[in-house]
């Protein structure tokens, strides 16, 4: 059987201590039989993080931001939108050039359950997201949109029972399938005339919808991930991570 290739990738503009936890979580992922995984990061202004990786695992993307923002913060302005959008396009290009079958795009503050990839690959969608609770918006909100972006997060409660759900848009931590990788017109660039497409994930989902009419987009809520958006979340994680490991082994 031919081995299928998975590219685990992200744009990285992150605090080193959080990246270390993130990298550990990726290294703990169980890779199902018949698959092989490689990591690839587009790293912005973070030489310390580059030192944690081997040279074929990243490319450097130094930006002269007019306004420096705190690493890992979720405050967005135009130039940071652009840097993330371009980084995600670079990852897509890299995957296409090196003939990957899947991209597992995991934002650099997301910690995954070790069995996540096994679940997502079985889900067999074009874009399959892993649910996590978002600590922005006072803990309300996840990385999916049932209908569309500007309607916010309708129907949030319906995803609480563990399962696999059809959604409109999935982002932040998603497994991207071969049909999308093979369609070179699909990118993260903004779409003229669609204001919400400045959110690169939305532009990506919208393009995929148009270019693959029977697109399958799911959220898998069976193994929720954690998001380390700030110091508080990080401290909490450092206290709880041993318990998490024991629990994960029992899942």
């Amino acid at each position: 059987m031919e081995i299928k290739k998975i590219l685990i990738a992200a744009p990285v503009y992150q605090k080193t201590e959080i990246f270390i936890e993130y990298l550990n979580s990726l290294n703990n992922l169980i890779i199902p039989e018949g698959y092989e995984a490689h990591k690839y990061f587009v790293i912005t202004n973070s030489p310390e993080i580059e030192n944690l990786l081997s040279s074929d695992e990243y490319e450097t993307d130094n930006y002269n931001f007019e306004k420096e923002k705190e690493k890992g913060s979720h405050v967005w302005d135009k130039e940071h939108f652009n840097s993330v959008m371009e980084a995600r396009n670079k990852i897509l290009k890299y995957a296409r050039k090196n003939k990957y079958d899947y991209i597992f795009s995991v934002d650099s503050d997301i910690l995954l359950h070790p069995k996540t990839l096994q679940y997502l690959l079985q889900d067999n969608g074009d874009i399959v997201g892993v649910v996590y609770r978002c600590s922005q918006n006072d803990g309300i909100g996840t990385n999916y949109y049932y209908g569309e972006y500007h309607r916010g997060y309708p129907d949030l409660e319906r995803l609480i029972p563990k399962g696999l759900y059809d959604v409109g848009v999935a982002c932040a931590s998603v497994l991207i399938g071969p049909r999308i990788i093979n369609n070179e017109k699909i990118t993260y660039s903004p779409i003229k005339g669609v204001s919400f497409s400045q959110w690169e994930d939305y532009a990506f989902n919208l393009r995929s919808r148009v270019l693959i009419p029977d697109l399958q987009v799911y959220m898998d809520t069976r193994l929720p991930a954690r998001e380390l958006t700030d110091q508080k979340q990080y401290n909490k994680w450092m206290k709880e991570k041993e318990i998490f490991k024991i629990e994960a082994n029992n899942d």
Binding site: Y145, G147, E148, Y149, H150, R151, G168, V169, K185, T187, S189, I191, K192, G193, V194, S195, N205, L206, R207, R209, V210, L211, P213
Partner: protein, 252 residues
């Protein structure tokens, strides 16, 4: 010989439709081109008599448009119907090897030079401007048949002030609508259609769904609006009355 398909979904009063056909018949056709008309008559069998048997097909259902003296109330069913008919026209043009579709709604009166203007620009997607008074109580406010954006409250948005477009020129804009000249490069793409995109609520509007799809399918393409020789929109009774009494005799 290059072939142009002039087409529209039609749900119209006979007297306005007659003015519409009058302007189509006066269109100057550039050398090397031939035109064919084909209409989708939506619940208006009475218009058959103005057309040859090979110039229409009938589209029947129980959806009607509400009109009053001021505005036309378009419900989602109305948009669904026109999306189906407009998509049929795209597929017909592709199948029958047309070089262009010229999509002109049935309440538009065109200047006779319109086709010459649009073809001479050599664009894949180009529209001719017309201006409409959206509310009869505010006659000094007019909006054009293009825009740059539409928000979640369904308000259309422009990147520049509208006065900017009053100077005669060809402008690049984000969203264009009828009267629209579309090249075969565009409509030969099989996945192009006018149906709403399920994660974009504003794409209930046919032209918006069409433009967003084109952007995705043809990442390098731009949309243009040509503002010389504006068309006339016979939107309300008042417009028709003015047209018949004053404007028609002067119309070029």
């Amino acid at each position: 010989m290059k072939k142009i398909l002039i087409t529209a979904p039609v749900h119209q009063d006979a007297k306005i439709f007659k003015e519409y056909l009058w302007s189509l018949d006066r269109l100057e056709i550039p050398e090397g081109y031939e035109i064919h008309k084909y209409f989708y008559l939506h619940n208006c069998d009475n218009l058959k008599k103005f057309l040859n048997f090979d110039e229409y097909e009938v589209f029947k259902n129980d959806v009607e448009i509400e009109k009053n003296d001021n505005i036309h109330i378009w419900k989602s069913e109305n948009y669904q119907c026109t999306a189906i008919m407009r998509t049929k026209a795209l597929k017909k043009a592709a199948k029958e090897n047309y070089d262009y579709i010229f999509s002109v709604d049935s309440d538009i009166v065109l200047h006779s030079k319109t086709l010459i203007d649009l073809l001479s620009k050599e664009k894949d997607i180009i529209s001719k401007v017309y201006w409409t008074t959206p509310n009869i109580l505010q006659p000094y406010i007019t909006i054009p048949n293009f825009y740059d954006n539409i928000d979640e409250k369904r308000n259309i948005k422009f990147d520049k002030t509208l006065n900017y477009y009053k100077i005669i020129d060809t402008y690049c804009v984000n969203v264009v609508s009828n009267p629209l000249l579309i090249s075969s490069k565009i409509f030969n793409e099989l996945s192009l259609n006018y149906y709403p995109i399920n994660i974009l609520s504003t794409s209930y509007k046919n032209e918006y769904a069409f433009c967003v799809r084109c952007r995705c399918l043809f990442p390098d393409i731009n949309f243009y609006i040509d503002t010389i020789h504006p068309a006339r929109h016979l939107y309300r009774k008042e417009d028709y009355k003015n047209w018949i009494e004053w404007e028609k005799s002067e119309w070029k």
